[in-house]
């Protein structure tokens, strides 16, 4: 097994170059993606469900709740978003429970690109500049725009200080089998994530598949490999804007994909389920999936994230219950 390097590091590009033959042509890429092992849907779902029955109690639960909080990409992606709303969210992310300073900060605040600057400022003001700002980009959520527009969208967000870019793939291109086009698009967006301030750094790229629109698990596995080959730092399930968002089986499958990708290339990629994860119980189930599929290597906010908004308050209420022994209520957590 090759030694592990992070997807966002310089070595990752060399590793990916060694796979260049499979991405050389549309035909080669198709053959490779279609040569990946099939996914048996029922078996995958059964495994995810079985892991969902793990009973996480006491110390393990306390650990999992804090870990989950630290992995949240606290998100607002509404047409009605305003600087005020974004500032409130940033304050919440830096200090999730004003009555308890031992609560960890969230991993990132996730916003539209025009809110990046506002979020950066608000985080700094709240004393939480280590909380990242993630910006959705590339004509989120549909991905239906010219490539130039998508790239411009990305550059704008990066220029405004985004630490992370959550792009969407062109599902139409993917579903019609134009894999190389999707691959190229991701590669160019990754290029656009480079900062032009001379720091030589780049925003980390999360690639959203909108798995609810890909519909089959085989497609999800192929999309995962395609994105990772193109340089994704994270693979992400969903935009949160369609009927079917993150599910445990889809997430499990993506965890298996990053595991297999690291076994093959040595490049470690993160995973982010997003959309529909609202309860602590759900979040803990996802952490169990990570723990039993990937183990400790991925059990950090560097490698696993939750795209969520209401999840945070439920985690906080559960945390209060654990520390006080009483059930909490919605009036004891902040509304943002």
């Amino acid at each position: 097994m090759p030694t592990t390097v992070p997807a966002y590091g310089a070595e990752a590009a060399e590793r990916l170059a060694s796979m260049a033959d499979v991405t050389a042509t549309d035909g080669a890429l198709r053959r490779f993606l279609h040569g990946l092992p099939g996914v048996d849907a029922v078996g995958l779902q059964a495994r995810a469900a079985a892991l969902g029955t793990r009973s996480i109690k006491t110390t393990a639960k306390a650990y999992a709740i804090d870990l989950a909080i630290s992995m949240i990409d606290l998100t607002t992606l509404e047409g009605a978003d305003t600087p005020g709303k974004v500032r409130a969210l940033c304050a919440k992310g830096v200090s999730p429970d004003p009555t308890d300073r031992s609560v960890p900060k969230v991993a990132a605040i996730c916003v539209y690109s025009d809110m990046v600057a506002t979020a950066k400022r608000a985080l700094a003001e709240a004393g939480g500049s280590e909380v990242h700002v993630a910006s959705v980009a590339t004509a989120f959520p549909s991905g239906r725009a010219a490539l130039a527009v998508k790239l411009a969208d990305t550059r704008e967000a990066v220029a405004a200080g985004a630490d992370e870019i959550d792009m969407v793939i062109d599902r139409g291109a993917f579903l019609s089998g134009r894999y190389l086009q999707v691959f190229e698009e991701i590669r160019q967006v990754k290029e656009a994530c480079r900062r032009t301030d001379g720091s030589g750094t780049a925003a980390h790229l999360k690639v959203i598949f909108e798995t609810g629109e890909l519909e089959t698990y085989d497609n999800v596995r192929r999309a995962s490999w395609l994105a990772m080959l193109a340089g994704a730092d994270f693979i992400k399930t969903s935009t949160g804007k369609v009927a079917v968002n993150a599910t445990p089986p889809v997430t499990l499958l993506m965890l298996e994909a990053v595991r297999d990708f690291r076994d093959t290339t040595g490049v470690q990629v993160g995973v982010k389920p997003a959309g529909g994860i609202r309860t602590s119980k759900d979040a803990i189930k996802y952490l169990v999936l990570v723990n039993e599929t990937l183990g400790a290597d991925w059990l950090t906010p560097d490698w696993f994230r939750f795209g969520a908004s209401s999840l945070l308050n439920d985690l906080l209420m559960q945390r209060q219950k654990l520390s006080t022994g009483r059930y909490s209520g919605p009036d004891y957590v902040t509304v943002d």
């Binding site: 048996d40 995958l44 495994r47 793990r54 109690k57 960890p104 280590e130 298996e256």
Partner: protein, 487 residues
């Protein structure tokens, strides 16, 4: 970004805290009698035996040991009850069975804990597999009781009479359900002998019968060892023998009933091949291999104990399998996160050890993940052997434990030949994404149950039973009725 660390074990950040199911949901009496003619009674000669928790070796209760006299009394009680029971309208018998199904559902937590205590199986399995299937089985056959005319066994098919039923220790309550539900639905009465090491859930089932108002004598439970079973099988007053257990005992039963009018069904051992092709859905295949051999500690007659892997993916598959095996949690059966519980008895543990040692001695390579086993009780780490050939004992004999023998093949023809190269024929598994190959393989495997791209799935509507030395007759589905009707 901050990264929380686990205070209990920084090296393994997400260590699950113990999550034991409460033992207090079940009350085990210090002693139990035989359940004959609706009442509990001591054995005529007062003999008793202890049943222990295999996870701790703690004695759970003292149980009456039925001798010839007791078996005779039980058979007479069943005979006495047969007239009225078989004459009941099917719809009435159905309602008794529906009642039993419901009461089992209501008391499933209690029964699951009891089963895990007495058997050693993980609570996750007794809770999520055994008990739901027990209730489902009664539910399924309840519905047949008033529809026997339509079962395809002729108009007005008659029950056989008194069924003598002997069940094993691996799925105590589920095997009871497989035996009792169709027997009662068809209008028979039963004398059932649970396994020596796992008598408790059957005795609790007697209480379920009481709550359901089942007429006395319709179900009789006689506890004891093999000698009790032999008395029952040989008793001239029974019309039907149903046995699940070892092939050796199955043969002895077949000899015993030779020349009699007794109808027999036998569900015996197996040495199933789980065949993985290079185009298999690998992650699901690994799960299927794991559940195929480690489900219920491998105490499963249809366990996929021979992994036949296509040579071209052997290394990849074994790496994935070992990685998965490292995540198996062995330990306290009552912990909700336990994947592999205790071996049912010291005797069975000794047998597993003997065969595993033979595997090593014969040159196969042994591997098991590092796992700490409790100091008391009967335990065996999940184990796999590579470099196994058809000639090895571990490829031929049923181990009935968490031990997997890995063999390779090159072509589908070779896979079929190796899979069928056994006196057994209970089950088989096929893993490939190619539909036509599945059907080709399935039609050539000499086994009563073929799981393709899945393994160890059971359902009351689905017939189960073996070819060759795995026994005869089917349990489950419409086919399962035949065993209890005079056809």
């Amino acid at each position: 970004m901050t990264n929380p660390t686990n205070p209990t074990n920084p090296a393994n950040p997400f260590e699950y805290a113990p999550a034991p199911e409460s033992r207090s949901v079940v009350e085990i009496a210090p002693s139990y009698g035989l359940f004959i003619d609706g009442e509990f009674a001591e054995a005529a000669d007062g003999k008793v035996f202890k049943t222990v928790s295999p996870a701790t070796e703690e004695s759970l209760s003292e149980v009456a040991h039925a001798g010839a006299e007791d078996v005779d009394r039980a058979v007479r009680a069943a005979r006495k009850a047969f007239g009225k029971w078989s004459a009941l309208p099917g719809a009435e018998r159905a309602k008794y069975l529906f009642r039993i199904a419901r009461i089992v559902q209501e008391r499933s937590r209690e029964l699951a804990v009891l089963e895990s205590l007495d058997n050693g199986k993980p609570i996750r399995e007794s809770r999520d597999v055994d008990l739901p299937l027990v209730a489902a089985h009664f539910f399924y056959y309840a519905g047949w009781a008033d529809k026997l005319d339509y079962a395809g066994y002729g108009r007005d098919p008659r029950p056989l009479g008194v069924a003598g039923q002997v069940i094993p220790w691996n799925f105590p309550l589920l095997m009871l359900a497989w035996k009792i539900a169709p027997a009662l639905a068809a209008g028979n009465t039963v004398v059932l002998k649970p396994a020596e090491t796992t008598p408790l859930s059957a005795l609790f089932f007697a209480d379920v019968c009481r709550q359901a108002g089942l007429p006395r004598g319709v179900v009789n439970i006689v506890t004891g060892d093999g000698s009790t079973g032999a008395e029952l099988v040989a008793h001239p007053g029974i019309d039907k023998v149903a046995f699940t257990g070892s092939t050796e005992v199955g043969k002895a039963i077949a000899r015993t009933v030779a020349g009699t009018e007794k109808k027999v069904t036998l569900e015996l051992g197996g040495k199933a091949a789980n065949i993985v092709f290079d185009d298999a859905p690998i992650d699901q295949a690994v799960e299927g291999i794991v559940s195929g051999i480690f489900f219920n500690q491998g105490h499963v007659c249809c366990a996929g104990s021979r992994l036949l892997v296509q040579e071209s993916i052997q290394d990849e598959l074994l790496d994935a399998l070992k990685r998965r095996m490292r995540t198996l949690r062995v330990g306290d059966p009552l912990d909700k996160n336990t994947d592999i519980g205790a071996i049912n008895s010291a005797e069975q543990l000794a047998r597993i050890r003997t065969l595993a040692d033979a595997g090593e001695a014969e040159g196969a390579e042994r591997w098991a993940p590092e796992c700490a086993l409790p100091s008391s009780g009967y335990w065996f780490a999940p184990t796999l052997f590579t470099g196994v050939t058809q000639a090895h004992r571990i490829a031929r004999e049923e181990i009935f434990g968490p031990v997997l023998s890995v063999l390779t093949f090159r072509t589908p023809q070779e896979a079929v030949a190796k899979a069928n190269n056994t006196p057994y024929g209970l089950s088989a598994g096929i893993w490939t994404e190619k539909g036509s190959r599945i059907l080709w393989m399935a039609s050539r495997l000499r086994a009563g149950v073929v799981w393709s791209n899945t393994f160890n799935k059971f359902d009351p509507a689905s017939p189960f039973g073996g070819y060759k030395e795995s026994g005869y007759g089917r349990e489950g589905g419409r086919h399962g009725l035949e065993a209890y009707l005079d056809v």
